[in-house]
Symmetry: C2
Subunit: 335 residues, 2 copies
């Protein structure tokens, strides 16, 4: 971009962010102090979540701007999906280093626009500040859920089956591939994994469908897999006062992950402890199996039983021969 002078805060908002508010009256074109949203509809509750991503911590400093935008949105929409909620709108706080090129912000805004179209949401507010630190992007996502249809973490029951959607481990291996730590993988498989790391696809439809199952068959506990499969199943177990046994052989794996695992069996630990897949993990009574299979067929998202909720308050991963996999640091921790 041929701009000689740096854009000011208000010019950045006007040029790049205000267009993202068009179509949502409550955003008040981003000129007011706050956004106004009318009631969510009869019997609908508001669901709200917020997650930040920091350059060098949650994304790579040289990740393309559009990819960073989609990731900032997806990590938040994935939290809504884990509650069974429909996304409605979002706010963005962008802490921008002064060295960040204006063109980057433009590409970032284009990524947000793509995400908005994909998820049917609009930007309704935010803040733009300068930081001497790394680029930090914080989104607060607002959705709604019908009273009683919300999914929670804290209601897993001993005897429940543990399920996970899609495939696991792709994002963790994608990150390794980007770092050049996955030698010998074909270009196509590498691209599949990298894409899964860079462009998480929050399971909004699935979460909504899970919340609407018949009461007797309903999911007991749900979470999105962001910290890592074992860490997130542990979150469910801690909130519910139970434990879980996961059978490694039942884990749904993509072809690319299978190939990588065939070359290096030690990657299994990365697969069960790596984060960023943004699949849904959930528990449901055994009698739900058939309904879940139907629901999976309709939504086109695989849903796989990978283990069982047990009373012993530990989360164990068993390999094919029944031995327990030793997993240190079940998932990503920031500190």
């Amino acid at each position: 971009m041929a701009l000689k002078r740096r854009l000011g805060e208000f010019e950045i908002i006007e040029r790049f962010f205000a267009p993202l508010a068009r179509g949502e009256g409550g955003a008040l074109a981003l000129v007011d102090d706050a956004a106004i949203l009318p009631p969510m509809g009869r019997g609908r509750h508001m669901v709200v979540t917020t997650d930040a991503i920091v350059a060098g911590v949650h994304f790579l400093a040289d990740d393309p701007a559009e990819v960073v935008a989609l990731k900032a949105l997806a990590v938040n929409l994935s939290d809504l999906a884990a509650m069974g909620a429909d996304p409605r709108a979002y706010l963005l706080v962008a802490a921008l280093p002064k060295t960040l090129p204006t063109a980057w912000i433009g590409r970032f805004a284009r990524g947000l626009a793509r995400g908005q179209r994909r998820f049917g949401i609009h930007l309704i507010g935010g803040d733009t500040v300068a930081t001497p630190g790394p680029l930090t992007l914080n989104i607060c996502a607002i959705g709604s859920v019908s009273r009683g249809a919300e999914l929670r973490r804290s209601a897993a029951i001993v005897g429940d089956a543990v399920y996970v959607s899609g495939t696991v481990g792709d994002a963790a291996l994608g990150l390794r591939a980007l770092r050049g730590e996955l030698a010998g993988l074909g270009a196509r498989q590498r691209a599949v994994l990298v894409r899964r790391y860079r462009e998480p696809d929050p399971r909004i439809e699935l979460g909504r469908a899970l919340g609407r199952m018949k009461r007797t068959e309903r999911v007991h506990a749900a979470i999105d897999v962001s910290d890592g499969l074992v860490a997130d199943v542990t979150h469910i177990c801690e909130a519910s006062g139970v434990g879980a046994t996961i059978e490694a052989e039942r884990l749904p794996l993509s072809d690319a992950v299978r190939v990588a695992l065939g070359r290096d069996a030690a990657l299994l630990k990365t697969i069960v402890s790596g984060g960023d897949d943004y699949e849904l993990a959930f528990t449901a009574p055994p009698l739900s199996a058939r309904s879940l299979a139907r629901l999976s067929g309709r939504s086109g998202v695989p849903v796989t039983a990978i283990g069982t909720i047990v009373s012993d308050r530990r989360v164990r991963v068993l390999s094919g021969d029944g031995r327990e996999l030793e997993i240190r640091n079940g998932g990503y921790r920031h500190f």
Copy 2:
């Protein structure tokens, strides 16, 4: 604090932040992926805003943790006040440098607890991330307003009187005092100014009362004074397609600011362009004067007419002899 090891993300949340969620069922004790809020009440709309503060930019790195907490809350609640909204709940994203002492986080949480009691709100969610950059605190505040009672920036009309609540310039001179740039001020006056800089008191009651005035007398446009009086009146004027004339002699000044101004008349520019007072600036038709005086008397918050909305699309500040004050950079800009 005698902790030998650093606390992890989840321990920080459990020890310091989860207690701040007690009393608000929708926070789900911060163990879920998102918070759930029931509808705001019949005819109530949700109002949502978000503002971040960065160490070294919006607050001083050695400001006490409790003060930083109150400031992070107040800047957001002030935005709700400017919309005439009642605060209800908030989310917090804390980007913490690894070097930040655990004890600091404890004091920060105590400051939030104080703010929660003062404003009748609870923490309902958030995110805690590590950053290699400066401490960055981002709050997303949620409130509600009765349909039709919301205040906006964009409806100022030529002939409106321009009002401001409380006194102006205190915070800007408080910051100067902290930096040692205000020689000759007494200790008590210095303390008053510093307190105004450090502990802004959002005008929630006033905003709510302004939104509830009779339709014929109602405030046309409102904003909170965060960027600076001239900058924020300019925001109103730009959003409304008008201009304003402000008479410096009518500005409501605290005793401390009067003393400082007596010693150095050049401080007037700081007073009209400095930010952080978090008063409300608003415009209303001349016939509202009596109602506003009554409302000011009831709420105990001074409300002072300081100028007029004009058709010429500029914001001018006139000194006592009618000359125009030259103000460069009407207010704080981040870039």
